[in-house]
Symmetry: C2
Subunit: 236 residues, 2 copies
């Protein structure tokens, strides 16, 4: 895993300080990073964020797609949806993205773990009202899933734009947490007659499935094969 290796090296350089007390990773702080390139790389590789809001004391965590432009994340939803309306009210949000890189299989049950890279971003989302920013955000969300897709498809019309709420979440209090490498067993367990190691996991694409009513002669587009996502069929 090249990227994890690069991140690990980067994490050994003097750390950027945590953005705030509540934004500080407490558990296993040696796995934490507050460096922007590390945080951005994880956010860019993830496809789904888990977004938490609290309504009347009850947290709700919902999966959402997202996009990033510089230091802002963008979410979207149907303007009529409960979550979009909640978020637009300027409530505190937690957005978490987790990449599961492998199962860490130790000789003891206790030292079983997972290799992962995650980002936790705290903040307040703002409803985007500027039409230019809204369009750029929708482009970022579309191209985040599949780079280059926006240019291939019909852009939203006025009615569709009205039906869509876009929210901006500035990346002001974000932290990354990363575990890589083999299991760390206790010294006295090493002689056990038990296999130990890592089962690497990766999100991968299977061959694209054309829509049933697709017109004949339309080939799968460049966006499917030209970008560098690890799950892209061009890289499988």
């Amino acid at each position: 895993m090249d990227q994890s290796g690069a991140m690990k090296r980067r994490m050994n350089t003097p750390a950027t300080p945590p953005p705030s007390e509540r934004g500080t990773v407490r558990r296993l702080p040696q796995r934490a990073s507050y460096e922007e390139p590390v945080i951005h790389a994880i956010l860019d590789e993830g496809l789904v964020a888990h977004v938490g809001v609290t309504v009347e004391g009850q947290p709700y965590v919902l999966p959402m797609v997202y996009g990033r432009i510089g230091r802002n994340l963008y979410l979207h939803g149907a303007s009529v949806s409960r979550l979009a309306r909640q978020l637009a009210q300027g409530v505190p949000v937690c957005l978490t993205v987790t990449l599961l890189d492998g199962l860490v299989l130790a000789r003891s049950a206790f030292h079983h773990s997972a290799n992962y890279r995650s980002v936790v971003a705290l903040g307040t989302a703002v409803l985007v009202t500027d039409e230019g920013e809204k369009l750029r955000a929708l482009e970022a969300i579309t191209d985040h899933a599949l780079r280059g897709r926006w240019a291939e498809v019909r852009a939203p019309n006025a009615q569709e734009l009205k039906a869509t709420s876009v929210l901006r979440l500035p990346l002001e209090e974000a932290s990354a947490k990363i575990r890589t490498g083999p299991p760390r067993d206790d010294e006295e367990d090493l002689p056990l007659d038990c296999w130990a190691g890592v089962l690497p996991l990766r999100l991968m694409a299977l061959p694209p499935v054309p829509a049933p009513e697709l017109r004949e002669g339309i080939r799968p587009p460049a966006s499917l094969f030209e970008n560098k996502s690890p799950w892209n069929p061009g890289n499988v």
Copy 2:
């Protein structure tokens, strides 16, 4: 995707009613299911849950592994961790598991979507104090990631058990939400000269990587090859 197909068929049978008003899927309710077999199947296939708790009005969403025994989910964490201590106080929790099955690529930006299966469970976690239940829960968590692994490894000793908090979350208010199938474009976009379809995504395993200090002659274990997880190397 056999499983999605089975789920879709099952969703066409008369629906189990939602467990509560706040546990009801509001947005695109035709994608919702409240049936136990549907909910359990998604939870059993997922590996990571995103768990939300609220502290002083701020939601926090953290990735956690988990296990299921019947109608209870189990989480674990270091007894000293902030999240485990929060959860043990009986605060409201939201646990969400999302399986991303594919990118839905429509002819219009607006109709882009994702195929997914997710479960949102609301409730209150309880600290498990009974030692027998605690061990069974840890076994369920270990075997959830890799069926049969618990029997292959050294069980936790008294000190390790003490250092681990186990929490039980009863599945009393859970809903599933599922999208399957091709993009649903507007009629007038069908003639566009634009590819449309689904890019299926799947979490898959790469070949296992032995721990660097693994004793010679120890072969990868049965748990790695005999179970039926879709991401298992035996099925790749």
